[in-house]
């Protein structure tokens, strides 16, 4: 099964789940011996980090739009969403 030394075959290295370091970022480290919170979560890199700024910006713009009482804000938000969608769709296979 292992004809060549493992470290000389990068493709085979990738087939080992434990070495797929890119997949390890979201996993949790379980600490069963500790009381209280038994799971030490690692950071969820960009995904979670995007949630708070998006929500914060939404609150800010929403409050400004509500105070101004103009429909133009909603229109601008929707146009912005349309442009973001179209740009994101360029990455579709």
């Amino acid at each position: 099964m292992w004809g060549t030394p493992l470290l000389e075959d990068p493709h085979r290295l990738q087939s080992l789940p434990v070495l797929r370091l890119g997949d390890q970022g979201r996993s949790s480290v379980h600490l069963p011996g500790l009381r209280g919170p038994r799971v030490l979560t690692t950071t969820r890199p960009r995904l979670l980090n995007a949630l708070l700024p998006a929500a914060g910006l939404g609150i800010l713009v929403g409050a400004l739009a509500r105070n101004s009482g103009e429909v133009g804000w909603i229109l601008a938000l929707l146009v912005c969403s349309a442009v973001v969608t179209a740009v994101a769709q360029q990455t579709l296979p």
Binding site: A50, A86, Q89, Q90
Partner: protein
Amino acid sequence: MHRNQAGRSWKSKAAVYALASGLAGLAAGAALGILGGALPLYVRLAVGSILAIAAVALGTFELLGRRMQPLQFDCETPQRWVDKGPWSWATINGLTLGFGATSRIGFWLWYAIPLGAFLIGNPVAGAVIYGAYGLTRALGAVAIILAMMRLDEDISDRVIDGYDTARILAAGQLVFLGVATVIVVGL
């Protein structure tokens, strides 16, 4: 687009493609705006509030790593359209992609476009929203081709590799739009 960039007149075909895509968006948005205008404002506000909450929930799930495929026709535009000739292909493909609903959507954020154009209840505003989508979608493809010509290499794989980043961007925008809309029309 890639199949038609060969000849000297690729710029004309790209222009036709972009124009068709923009026009499809403008027409779809105007039609949705007219339809939406038939509904009373309080109904549109109520529906908009519910959809805004749904947008926040969907965007949050996505950003927390729980992927949910959007409801869509999971296909590309038919390859056989290429046989119709470059001008017809540019027109039909532009119209189809500018409308967007009949091919792969990929992101929940897309639904904000037709629903927004409908709920805003004004044909001009609807056309602006959907037209911006159609035009940007077409110009994005043109920009990729120009970049490929300038760099003299195929960057399509690199663009597709950006899907994860695009997913985060789209989900973040969905949360942003949803939260702002809830505050403006829902509270």
